[in-house]
Amino acid sequence: MGITFRKETFRDDYTFRNSPEHVRRFPFPFNEDAYMYAVNIEPHVVGPKGSVLENLIDVDEHYVAEMQDRALVLAEDPLRCQSLPHMTLAGWDLLELLMEQQALGYPEHFTLSRDGDRWRWINRPLGIDDTFTFGDTSTLPYGPMEYITRQSQGDFCILDQRDGNLWMDAGMVTTQADWSLDFDIGMNFFEWHAPVPLAHEKGIFTRALKFLTNIQQGKPARRLNWTMTINPRLDTSPENYHKWGPDRATVTPENVGQKVHLRVELQSFWRLPRSNGIVFPIRCYLIKMDELVTQPKWARRLHRVIRDLPEELATYKGLTRYRPTLVEWLSKLDDGSPTSPGFGPD
């Protein structure tokens, strides 16, 4: 049985919803009642059936709608997808990885067949059936990275590894939490993370870089990150901040449940075989408060996390304006009882 893809929007009338099954598989990012940065990286191995980790590249009910939203973003602003000239080979690496993983996890939706360099890719949800020559860019309608990431959920950064550092030299970034690929492209690991508060002083990035530069082929790693978004908007780019920023001032006690969304990024890190680059998919999951609080444990825990979040982090994540309203709303769902260990719902 295949996935039933929802017809929904991430802009204008915001019809995005999670089905009840998708609420329960939401990658809730807090395993205790408080949050602070950590190098929370672990091996990216297959997880329980029915979770977002059932396949290493997750495809879900929002796939078709997310790809439509991406196409709209790219039509407005082609600079969201860029690749420096030396990154084409890494783009082919990525195309191979995503085609293999999607075909492996969802054979009813995707099929990859190969005859030497002659490849045929069938993407049924998007109605694509293309035959091309692997390694020959002229046989695809876009460059390899753009071609496959127009068909894959999440943002993708491709990092070149040299001089003991990682360089943000290519990417498809349309669902980002307020950072600009166009500005950051070409920067090294420390430079593009420069605006993040507190973490540099804690040595987080030095340790993370050491880990990432040692990632081996076939042994991907992952971590979760999170923020909050008002309305289920995928494109919370700095480019459009002046358009979505005003939404943050619209939160009221009456509309918290529908407007405020927890936004979780499942970030994974994969060594690419030919280019020796690292691809860094940033998969975004959204859940509105009304959906999240159907799991009482998550409601209690989120209340405690948001209430006790250090001010610098709240500011960096852009929560300042509506945090009091959100905490007040969540507090009514927190009876003070203990929460069980671990991420999952009870």
Partner: protein, 198 residues
């Protein structure tokens, strides 16, 4: 310079003579003084293999001081934009081993470095020294327009007119600091504009 800074914010040093036979200096305004100060530490004959490209700026000073160093070539240009085609040609034809020295305003250093990066020179191999104005080159993250010589915080985008927070986040590729709308969440909030980068 701002007291609290971030890692992407460029750090400048003090020019010092590097070993080698070919030296290219690119400077504007008071950047000339960084070159003349360095000249005191340079070995005899150093400037026999040196070319200086200089934008005097509005005050038009320091040309004579640079002439006195007797570089093999002194090119005086009215603006950075006007010297860029020549600079690109020089960098394209440069041989391995050319030493690059950039001195003056951040805008000059950043744009000269941008041209050198495009020519394949590693940024860590360039000598830099900041002299003179702290004015910033700023890219508006919204409309992508570059505003030159930004001295205030916040600053108006010269292209789209949004009021922008001038961040310390800096891109060598764009040779610009990032400007982000400061009152996006509530346009009626208008913070006072202060002279921050004189």
């Amino acid at each position: 310079m701002a007291a609290k800074t971030i890692i992407s914010r460029p750090v400048y040093g003090t020019l010092s003579p590097q070993p080698g036979k070919h030296h290219l200096f690119i400077a504007d305004a008071e950047g000339a003084l960084a070159i003349t100060d360095m000249a005191g530490k340079a070995p005899a004959g150093f400037f026999d293999g040196a070319e200086i490209v200089f934008v005097p700026g509005r005050e038009g000073k320091h040309v004579a001081a640079l002439e006195a160093l007797q570089p093999v070539q002194l090119h005086v240009a009215p603006s950075f934009a006007s010297l860029l085609p020549r600079l690109k040609q020089t960098l394209t034809n440069a041989h391995m081993g050319l030493r690059l020295y950039l001195a003056g305003t951040e805008g000059l250093i950043g744009q000269a470095m941008q041209a050198a990066l495009e020519a394949g020179i590693d940024h860590t191999s360039m000598q830099t020294e900041h002299r003179g104005s702290l004015a910033r080159r700023m890219q508006c993250v919204h409309c992508k327009g570059i505003t030159e010589n930004v001295t205030t915080q916040p600053a108006l985008c010269a292209h789209c007119g949004l009021l922008l927070l001038v961040r310390d986040h800096y891109s060598r590729r764009l040779a610009a600091f990032q400007g982000v709308c400061i009152n996006a969440e509530d346009r009626s909030e208008i913070p006072p504009m202060e002279e921050a980068f004189p």
